[in-house]
Symmetry: C2
Subunit: 619 residues, 2 copies
């Protein structure tokens, strides 16, 4: 990818030692880093070694940060601060860094006098100039007096020194509801640095919000495109740098986090085209998805027998056998389930792959790889289809397929049809509605951005659901026409010990009459999840429901939700083991949710179910 | 314990199914529960079965909650709300519950009219009366119009119905900075219920604060004693109930949480004596502690050889062998280390026990057992001391000892002296300064309250420390004379996967010249933790230090901190394996901290140390 944009990441955004952070940044394709001083202080590398190591990796040290509480001080304090700055300039010389970040003073002793601040920053810039160093002044959202970029820019303008400019940080500006439209009034050459961070919308102390909950662009709720658009309109062509303080990233694999970070920048930049000028190659456009080709369930020998019996009872017919693998294709209407017998034990059954109907599988794959998705090489015989496949953050394979059987790229031809394979009586399941995947907490935000950017799915807001074993964080995504829906679930507190909710996955099938489906399946001996009577008593108290509907739902274990747009009826089918189950859903009207209000009921029911047992999560 | 106080806990405070919550509450000695409606809705037990199960366990269902958005509504809404209430009254009859919690209306449609609210609550009370049910009205801190108890009480007074009273919740009152002194103006018979919850002082949206961060009394920053004093002064003699929404407790063992909860109530009540009247037996008074008798390190055969070599090099002498166990006593000045060879593998070496000098070991044990600390029965021969021992939340044994050798209760006599056992040259270590214990996140708040209540240690505020593998939560406790100091560390996000900081323990020895000690140990070949040069460069830039002092610290790997009260010099000694290490500290002046500012430096250094390796935490 030829590209004129320079991209950087602050070392504080990644876990590990300084060496690990630099290596991860370089491998993810960053051009440089902001060196966060505590990472240097705790490093066993000397300053010169850091410079050399970064150079060897092709990384520039684009910013040294932070330098605190410099301006708006007494003369005595100024003398101390200048001495402190000189010693940092020494460090920067050895590092080969020529830009220092000065944050607006947060001390209670800071003097509220912009002229004084400007004069003192001018002095600092003069000192810096003699060392070939430039100073970027940033308004912290919680600065004592200087909290917005309008004021930091006014001070920089008044100081009027060529070595002094502003640093603009999206978090500090957007967290306080600032209007970024004033940015384009700043001369481009006075914007020395731009830091990008997103964040979920939280109502809390802005310092704590900043220190713990920042995330990469596209993972939170800020309008980063609007912000960056203003920056580019101002003519800024310096580095775009991610400065993200995040409790989860601090303990995640730095290499994964660095790639997640780079993906967020590529996606953000691409979202600005063609209206704004971002130099470099555009990403391949997202390819429309038309639904699910199939889901592939990985089963071991024992669970494969149970799965076959269950699929047959649910009205699926075994319609094909793979020509070269121990894989069976089961079908009902437009629902296809592939059973793949693995030799692995333990973590099965599970969703091994999700095959999506793409109008252009190769185009889907191109976009995915440009967005740094790992490609999975699937073994196949020469005459078999070469399926485009990538690996999602939690390891689930995502295939891009076309099912039309005459197409040479179709996977369908790899299966030998089983003659006369018709289910006696299909249960009216029409298509796959959604797939719910449990994520390690470390993958949760990464996965949401992955599906958003790679598959062009729109995320909903996060929710928190109470399970008997702890809170579950949940987020749904769907394409604009809702052909493809994902739900991501993760334990809200990581794996906290005794009762930590571990993840279960499920596949939801759509039908047009959930009560009928539940009745048919029940008659065929399919065991549906038993829902507490108390739930239906409460439903009756809360909502004005037809008594016959209520009684039918109670009898069959069907759950209910309602929105302004429609209704949702759904029930669950258990498989042995705690890792995978099925859901049958009926959407009435334009209901667009997932019945999250019922998830605690379902999770509690699974907790006491003899088949599933403790610790299954998600909606 | 004979006792007139009735104690309750809300089921939402505990993890698990409703059955598990009830069982845990009963086993911890609670008299009743608040039944949180979602726990009932997801239970497979019928209402009558819940009543019977609670009855069998000796638990009363003291409150049914919550009922929302009832008052201050239009006539049409009132009719719906009354119907909804009647259906809840049906449920309560089957449960055998006669008190319902009505929370102040949070709907944006709520009408700001206290007369209307009073009239409608009167109607509700009238309906309730015919069923023998009473209504407790509570001001939520985020109620639409009614947010403080003064106003909820005014409405209840105006409604003037014998079946209507107020519920007072310490969180809702104290989180908004309310003054509890008005509570005693409320007639006792109109206070229908009292809910107690503590919380750390956070600056955030009060609803989120309430839903996620409440904790048991004594674990947070609220003045619960002051609050409860006002409640008792009003003449209230109803149940004291803990309603604690807490993300960690939601995923912790409910039995442990219930005991933690009961301990918090016993400690809170006891803190009110003798000034207030709390009926029932007082706890035995805390027994003064005089320091550490010894720390016992559990080692396997391999680590025992390394430990022996290290202790000898550090100037300890092997002064005794236990008469009946494979245990050695090493001593230097007033520092005693017991090496205990276990057959266990894996989780060693570790701190197996901490023996505290108590002026009355039996009294210490009595207080501990009244506070529900598990007693550890130590095997001993008839002629050996019967050491009083309890088990801390993380499993570490705490012994209460007297070391005076003529005392029959002394453990000292159990060791056979080794003749002529003198270290050639002690390294000037004087006493044990503190012990740092890593905790699973689930134990962190529990452990702080345990040491606070059982040992009468005063906790400091929590801190968060950045390690290369994630944030570490840390809290220090000490008795009023600082004879005994503990530091508790836990990963801030549970065990989050890839880089989760796992715990290391350490024992800190005090000396009066850390530079000398470091030099002596270094000459004897004791390997001290290598601290980055960059740390010292920064120290020089930050603080005005004697250059000779700075150079000596740099040469020897000694870290530095300074407060208004004094200075702190400290360094670290590694043992093979990541689980246990030593610290040597020198306190100058009245410095009372632990050098937490240096913990990130130390953790990063350990991360790259060949002996300790990745993932050691704490300060």
């Amino acid at each position: 990818m030829t590209d004129a944009v320079r991209r950087a990441i602050a070392t504080v955004s990644l876990s590990g030692t300084l060496e690990e952070k630099l290596l991860a940044s370089a491998r993810a394709g960053f051009d440089g880093v902001e060196l966060f001083e505590p990472d240097l202080l705790s490093s066993q590398l000397t300053h010169v070694e850091v410079q050399e190591y970064a150079y060897d990796l092709g990384l520039a040290i684009m910013l040294y940060q932070p330098f605190r509480d410099f301006e708006g001080v007494s003369d005595a304090a100024l003398a101390r601060n200048v001495r402190r700055a000189e010693s940092k300039f020494d460090v920067m010389e050895r590092l080969g860094a020529d830009l220092i970040l000065v944050c607006s003073n947060v001390s209670e002793h800071a003097i509220d006098d912009d002229e004084l601040a400007a004069a003192q920053l001018h002095q600092l810039a003069e000192r810096a100039a003699s060392r070939g160093i430039r100073v970027a002044y940033e308004a912290l959202a919680w600065g004592r007096h200087v909290r917005d970029y309008e004021r930091s820019w006014a001070i920089v303008a008044a100081a009027d020194h060529p070595q002094l400019g502003v640093c603009l940080d999206s978090f500090h500006i957007l967290s306080r509801g600032g209007d970024p439209r004033g940015i384009r009034e700043i001369p481009a050459e006075k914007i020395f640095f731009v830091q990008l961070a997103d964040a979920p919308r939280l109502v809390m102390d802005v310092l704590q919000w900043s220190r713990h909950y920042r995330c990469f662009p596209g993972q939170g709720g800020f309008d980063l495109r609007g912000f960056l658009g203003q920056v580019l309109d101002a003519g800024y062509d310096g580095p775009l740098s991610l400065e993200v303080f995040n409790d989860v990233f601090r303990q995640s694999d730095p290499q994964r986090t660095a790639i997640d970070a780079m993906r967020s920048l590529l996606f953000l930049e691409d979202g600005l085209r063609p209206a704004r000028t971002v130099e470099g190659a555009a990403l391949p456009a997202p390819v429309p998805l038309r639904g699910y080709a199939f889901v592939e369930l990985g089963v071991d020998f024992e669970s494969s027998l149970a799965a076959q019996r269950l699929l047959a009872a649910m009205g699926f017919a075994r319609v094909g056998e793979h020509r070269s693998k121990r894989v069976e294709l089961w079908q009902q209407a437009d629902v296809r389930v592939v059973l793949s017998c693995t030799s692995g034990v333990g973590d099965v059954p599970r969703v091994a792959a999700i095959a999506l109907e793409s109008v252009d599988p190769a185009g889907s794959l191109r976009r995915a790889t440009e967005l740094l998705a790992p490609v999975v090489a699937l073994r196949h015989q020469p005459e078999e289809a070469d399926i485009a496949a990538i690996s999602a953050p939690d390891g689930t394979a995502i295939f891009f397929c076309r099912t039309e059987s005459n197409d040479e790229t179709s996977w369908f031809g790899d299966f030998e049809a089983i003659a006369g394979a018709e289910a006696d009586s299909p249960a009216n399941l029409l298509q796959i509605d959604h797939v719910a995947l449990s994520q390690p907490l470390d993958c949760f935000d990464e996965a949401a951005l992955f599906y958003r950017s790679v598959l062009d799915l729109q995320p909903r807001d996060r929710e928190e659901l109470a399970s008997p074993d702890g809170l579950v964080r949940s987020r749904a995504l769907a394409d604009s026409e809702a052909h493809v829906r994902f739900v991501l679930n993760a334990p809200a507190l990581g794996d906290g010990g005794y009762g930590a909710a571990a993840g279960a996955q499920h596949v939801a099938f759509a039908c047009d009459d959930a009560l009928l489906a539940a009745r048919v399946l029940s008659e065929r001996g399919v065991r549906t999840l038993r829902i507490s009577d108390n739930y239906y008593d409460d439903l009756a108290a809360r909502l004005d429901l037809e008594p016959t509907l209520l009684e039918a739902m109670r009898e069959l274990g069907v759950l209910y939700d309602r929105s302004d747009d429609g209704e949702f009826l759904h029930f669950y089918i258990e498989m042995p083991g705690a890792r995978l189950f099925f859901e049958i859903v009926e959407r009435r009207g334009r209901y667009d949710g997932y019945g999250a209000v019922n998830s605690p009921i379902r999770m509690a029911a699974q907790r006491t179910s003899p088949l599933v047992g403790p610790r299954a999560v998600g909606h």
